[in-house]
């Protein structure tokens, strides 16, 4: 997983990768949170380009990050989702927490 912070627009870009299951989500959680605390971004962008699998543990990971940044007044964006990932995201109602796009967010 790569994390990139853009100072110009206060965007924290998180390039998730691999299989977002319970095992992996538990490992990624702290890494993302450290970057959030370090930069206090206005936008948190989760990029799914290289995510090959996600189950409800991945949903838990997204919801947890939303709960972290929402009180900071930051917004969440989810981008580059495949149709399979999109299906799970919508079943979980994630469009209420984040703007979801199949391409890259403007």
């Amino acid at each position: 997983m790569k994390i990139h912070y853009n100072t110009d627009n206060a965007q924290l870009l998180v390039f998730l990768d691999g299989e977002l299951d319970h095992h992996r989500s538990a490992l990624l959680r702290n890494e993302i949170d450290s970057a959030v605390y370090a930069h206090m971004p206005e936008k948190l962008i989760l990029d799914f380009q290289n995510v090959s699998f996600m189950d409800s543990s991945g949903i838990g990971l997204i919801m947890g990050r939303y709960k972290l940044i929402q009180p900071m007044g930051a917004e969440m964006f989810i981008q580059n989702v495949s149709p399979y990932i999109s299906r799970v995201l919508r079943l979980a109602g994630m469009e209420r927490l984040a703007k979801i796009s199949e391409g890259v967010n403007a």
């Binding site: 299989e19 319970h22 095992h23 699998f53 189950d55 409800s56 543990s57 979980a92």
Partner: protein, 147 residues
């Protein structure tokens, strides 16, 4: 029960074995030539069931998760996941979407909802203190219908 093929295995309840269960299912399904969507759905449901066994079933004890995959007639895939863990005290409540007994662990309470959505049938048998068994079935589309 009449089946065309079967695969059974058991593994210790450790989180790294969630990927192993998905890989076993993928390998078992290859000869049936599922669509990418069918494969994605079934990998998700087995991951939910195995994760529940590990996270909830064996919360306070250790043990094995047992897996049984069967190819039934008419391209129906049968998935059984069982644990000998703590069991589910109230199955109806547990299956309510968004209900989770572990919100502090960032669980969404969506595992059962996903399993129900992505399969044709889901049966849960559970006894407090004895363990939980899930049986799921999903009929695959006919091969020539696939894209």
């Amino acid at each position: 029960m009449k089946f065309l093929n079967e695969f059974r295995c058991a593994f210790p309840a450790r989180s790294q074995n969630e990927a192993l269960a998905r890989a076993a299912l993928s390998a078992f399904l290859i000869p049936s030539d599922p669509t990418a969507q069918e494969l994605a759905d079934l990998r998700t449901v087995i991951s939910e069931a195995v994760t529940n066994a590990i996270v909830h079933g064996y919360r306070n004890c250790s043990g094995d998760v047992s897996l049984c995959l069967r190819m039934l007639p008419e391209r129906t895939i049968y998935i059984r996941v069982s644990d000998k863990g703590c069991g589910i005290p109230d199955i109806e409540k547990a299956m309510t979407p968004l209900y989770t007994s572990a919100p502090e662990e960032e669980r969404a309470g969506l595992g059962f909802a996903i399993m129900q959505e992505f399969t044709d049938s889901l049966h849960v048998r559970s006894t407090s203190g004895t363990g939980t068994t899930l049986i799921m079935r999903r009929k695959l589309g006919t091969p020539h219908e696939q894209d």
